[in-house]
Symmetry: D2
Subunit: 458 residues, 4 copies
């Protein structure tokens, strides 16, 4: 339950009612961003854009979808802004330039935004927001290329960092991933056309069939029914974000060609082997710890049950009485099941610990509900470093594992024991066939495949 | 996932910021009604009321709570109306009459509303809505009694059917249950005062300690810190609604002094014994089938996993593309996990089957995700009769089990096998110590403890 | 520009799309109340009600009007509430009682509400709001009568004070005025049916033809196309509210069979004769002073012009800079035309002075715009007493003219001279043919035709 | 009542709470655009922007104004968009470029937008909307200049057509008018700082003192308390828009150093001399015909009165009954005063006739109210040509006077007589001292000072 979600992208082309399909795809990706959403569609008259703050289901009413006609569309759900005018930071971004209208959605974070931006400004370009998406659009527009497709290829040669992009032009839809492939992007077939989605759960709702991943470094260009593949830069070792499997992705998705739920269950199994404990009950921290907890229960033979129930009606902010309630912030979301926990030795399974404060409240709450012992098991290694590739993590100093060892963290969260998954186990769980070279583990190791420039979100 | 939820009530007295506590209690009871909510508080200046359509967290902003001062309050979450002006049907109802101001919240359904209403109208009374709550208030106002407490006692002698009530007067808070105790109502202690809640999950959030059930037929009267107990009518055999345990209540609640989650798990275990099947995977229909599925998995030894994921961002209505999507209505809420289901013999566990149409779509969807066999197991007996005690069930003809036998239902939902829990097993699961006399099973048996008059909701 | 508006009622019967016509009628009566509005319609299935806070044009959308079917409807625009739950005080009020459903809209204020209410409560009745409209409905319901029409007649025998009512029953529409006829109510013909409106401007928009006033003390009963007239009480001298002509009514209305605009112009002429002054320019305080100012200009021969312009985009509240702006409250609504006023001797014409504070700001503002002299002329006598018949006036102590003479008021508002219309002139302007007996002048004289009980609004 | 309003701009600098003052200034300019509004403020941290659809008073709540800190601000009220995404077309526009952040508001319409845009796109620039304001910002950003002030001067050398601009940079506020000065822009002093406003009514509310016009062709640069004046291009004969005096501006404003109300009254006087008629009553078409009607009445000696009353509660759209009402569209806004019009020979005074359809409905409505004769008098010459300088006029073919002579128009609107003001009289009324060279009369003459390129709005 640690980091805030990042962004999600979805697009379809060569499909009747493209914006309606995109709206449904975005709805399935809502967990990747709840602050804002947008869709840009294309018909014979040009590109049509609508973006706003709020939930997908609230933004896209019937009249709004009617104002987005055509047979190709791209969309975006956004987690949050780096501040300033929220509306101006929502995606897609749409420009009118050398190649007519071009729209872009972005999941990820460039690491050379400031340098590119400075250079573009020096060359006479202007920006309407701090978004790195505008930087990519400017690079496309200024590329030394005769077609927009070539221009995209040229522009992406200059972009460092993480990006999974969908680009809509007057006659093509392009899907691209950075050379390391930090963020996911899958390709599917829907009717006579194609669909692209951050996760496969987007395909499931609209009935698209999964085809393959957009490969790291690849630009897929769909014009009419013809599909082309380009690789702007030399191949490097792919570094897909392991945290998608640990926490971000929906469990019913496939991400980087692997089942998220299956991976998480395996993490739980390995965690049980690595850190066994005599206990009566395995309890997940809902919803992110559920699959790992099932795996832990399976491997340990200890019964699994929902010892905490999550309240799904949570609004934006809750009004606390002045006579304040113990652990209010956590209790408003999670309620312990006293009858289940009372007198038990409980293993809590969560996916990660960020600052440690929430974990401490949960341990305290479970103990107050009668648990005799509370053992915390974490289905990933200690999070010691910030992410610069599109995930909104706190600064290093705020990460409890950046400065404390296992015993100190255990003491802080007041658990009877604490066990993290090891890096090796994590690599085994995600089947990292490249000996630990096949994923980005920077938040656990500090080994950044691309040097960070500054923090930001997609 | 069958019936719509009924209503929830919550109240506190002798407590600083009573309306804030009530708002939190109602938030915990949100699952019992999402259409409307209201709170009536009382201070030295009288009673203060606010009610509106929508979610608890949206209705009760800071300024609204500020407009509800005082140290006693009652509140209500409402499932829906029988039609007409929605706002006028929200609870609490507040009248100014013989005993000054009196407010009332009601969970349940009187069975002699029409007769009482006709009589009251003949006597010169008027009503502003079709609600039976207004009937109870009118009876209180017209009772041959010198105090409002006596008047409540007198009024309740005339009410047939199901009611769990909270009543707020200028100097007392009253909690009452009908003689059969169809609907739950628990009493707790909070600070120096008392709290009442349909389910104990309401107590958990505000930090109240569970004391006891308001007994069937009892009127608890709290004046200041003094508590009195009255029984308006002769005792009868209690008939608490078994469906609270099957489906309605939150799993983390205790209802009728029993843990809901524990009961459901036991239902699953007994179901596994009654209807075993060779299978690879136990899959709950989320969220209502989860505990029973865990019990089924435990008893059968077959692995449990979330083969379907529920999307919690569901808005009111979803716009379907014209080129309609197969099983759209179900898929918007539930997504099958292909990697998990593919090639498996799957046992689906749900709490009940109403019309059969949703179950059919779920079976079809799971099969389309690759399941080799789909076995449906239901953690309650066939639902053959409508409820007249506060639950919104369809008419008998619409209940598939009212006219079809097990095999016909199985064929309709296109499952490979279908097994219901038996009535005896259900009685065992809820520990019905009175040989099947200790709960209301009317929706399974048609044996109504109180003769129905007409259908309606709380 | 003194008092806040009171309420307006409108109804039609025997007319296709009755609620749509009522909505338009209420829109024309919007100036009589901007806080809330409601419509109750009737078709073969019963009565249908919608009421809410806000403007008529915002409340009644297409779907809302579609939910109000049938060929008879009554509606109401409300100025404000006496406090408490705003929504519960909007009209129409709808009850289900002895005579089935009965709905009522009320413009005016009973003077024996408290006594009636006490009596009804003692008899066992209950109320859901402090509104005197509920009292009338209760009296109707309890009347010793066999039909609802007779019951209305009986009930109105008990009501003292001011009321212009529209009542909708399952087969009739009734329109009634109190014996003194304090508040207006006109009857028109629209197609094959009938319309009723507080002012004739309601008829103009829907294209109804004015027939006649509902007479003081009369109950007009329309059943199908048959019209009946009843007089519950003995005739008394009519006392229509003269302030409708001075300020409340729209200038394009006829009220009490007289043209409002014509009457106001005559007031201005008489004011010019009574209080002449050497001046260069006649300037109305818009919008209420316009007609009288035109009359003053005509009689005096001094040029008329709009020396102040009113801003019609005024929202609810305006945010004032901390470095506050002189006369901000007035300037946000009125802007002086410097080029016109500069160096001029100006006569300001307004309809009345309440507390004097606004008049003082206006005089100051006009002087600051360069006026050499500012003479204030008021087209009614000094307002010395509160109204108890349906108009929201401040208490006597707050009325500047209740305690200060002409010279003291002039000094307070800092005008060079001040002249009020005399009572005799006012009587002449409204053609009070009964020697000053034909209107209610209580706010100028303190002679109340019905003894007041307590203050309140419709 | 002919054309839709154009845009309004307002700005202040060197002033505490600059955004609050700007909000009030925009509120006073609300009549110049009701579709959208925006404010950009500047403090030590940069520029802060908020823009949205709706009314000024609704958009700028307390928290919004709090998010716009600093001591300089510019704002805009917008009439409408040329289509597409409305939000993206609201002003101010804000870019980050060579000169840091630069924001711009624009009233007017460039006539070489397409050419400039094509050139800029060819040079590698991109646009986010079709607005010509973005073109100006791009020109500024690309100017061969070392400072942003010089860049503005360079950029404006390339802009043809109409523009009154406010530009906010990180250390200056600039106000500019095109060489012909088509659109107004006045400069005032407010406290220690300066204010700029399309019309002087904006100054009145905030208490600013009018200093002078920003001159045609001038760029006023305010940095700190220093004011500089630049003239990018050679002087040409000024062509201020005469229609500001005929219709657009608020009557209480001074525009182009002349009192609008005074000018309109003079138009009415001259109209009476040019087209006298035997009649009983002068009636303005409210609100635009009021001042001219007063002038007509003065010169003719015929009494003036408000024979039609305007309803100011008009919402966006009105629901008409299916059984449609005669002249519904006009009647919803204007109501004739039957008592005044009945039997009279009426002179209607309006400012212009566009298509003729509204005028025809008004004549019909006045006649239906009993007028014996209806004479139409128009306080400007026949409108025969479209505007290309910032006013939203229909195409030439839709202007009734472009293809019909006086008699044909009279017949179409069914008036008894019709008289337009002559061009010479109009020139006299606005004191065109340059023998008809001192204003733009293109909509009456087709003599365009700058060749039009294509139609659009500000």
């Amino acid at each position: 339950m640690p980091f805030k979600d990042e962004c999600g992208v979805f697009g379809v082309t060569e499909l009747f009612e493209a914006s309606r399909q995109t709206y449904l795809g975005l709805y399935a990706l809502q967990h990747r961003g709840q602050e804002a959403a947008g869709i840009c569609s294309r018909d014979g008259h040009g590109l049509h854009l609508h973006k706003a703050q709020g939930y997908v289901a609230d933004i896209f009413s019937q009249p709004v979808l009617d104002s987005l006609p055509g047979d190709a569309a791209i969309g975006h759900t956004r987690y949050s802004t780096t501040g300033g005018n929220v509306a101006s930071a929502a995606h897609p971004f749409l420009i009118h330039g050398r190649f007519g209208q071009v729209a872009l959605c972005h999941n990820g974070n460039l690491t050379n935004t400031a340098a590119l931006r400075d250079r573009l400004i020096a060359e006479g370009h202007t920006f309407t927001s701090p978004s790195d998406s505008e930087v990519i659009l400017a690079l496309i527009n200024r590329a030394d290329a005769g077609t927009v497709e070539d221009a995209v290829v040229e522009a992406l040669k200059l972009c460092e960092g993480a990006f999974s992009l969908l680009i809509l032009t007057q006659d093509a839809l392009l899907a691209a991933r950075d050379p390391h492939g930090f963020r996911p992007l899958a390709m599917g077939r829907l009717g006579e056309g194609f669909a692209f989605s951050s996760e496969t759960c987007g395909f499931d709702l609209v009935g698209a069939d999964y085809l393959r991943e957009v490969e790291p470094g690849e630009v897929v260009i769909v014009k009419g029914r013809e599909v082309q593949s380009r690789f702007p830069r030399e191949k490097v070792v792919a570094k897909p974000c392991v945290f998608e499997h640990v926490y971000f992705a929906r469990p019913d998705s496939n991400v980087f060609s692997r089942s998220v739920m299956g991976t998480r269950r395996e993490m739980g199994r390995l965690l049980a082997q690595r850190h066994p404990v005599e206990a009566d009950l395995i309890v997940p921290v809902p919803d992110s710890g559920v699959s790992a907890a099932l795996g832990y229960a399976e491997a340990s033979g200890i019964p699994f049950d929902f010892g905490m129930i999550r309240n799904h009606y949570v609004g934006r902010t809750f009004i606390e009485p002045k006579q304040s309630i113990r652990s209010f912030g956590v209790k408003v979301k999670l309620n312990p099941v006293r009858d289940l926990l009372n007198g038990k030795r409980v293993v809590l399974v969560d996916d990660s610990i960020v600052r440690g404060t929430t974990s401490r409240k949960i341990v305290e709450m479970v103990r107050a509900a009668g648990a005799k012992e509370v053992h915390m098991r974490i289905s990933s290694p200690p999070t010691t470093h910030s992410c610069f590739y599109g995930i909104d993590t706190p600064s290093r100093e705020q990460l409890i594992a950046s400065s404390r060892d296992n015993e100190a963290i255990r003491a802080f969260i007041e658990a009877d024991s604490l066990g993290y998954l090891t890096l090796e186990d994590l690599q085994a769980a995600v089947r990292d066939g490249q000996g630990g070279q096949g994923f980005c583990y920077a938040c656990f190791t500090g080994e950044y495949a691309v040097a960070p420039e500054a923090k930001g979100v997609c």
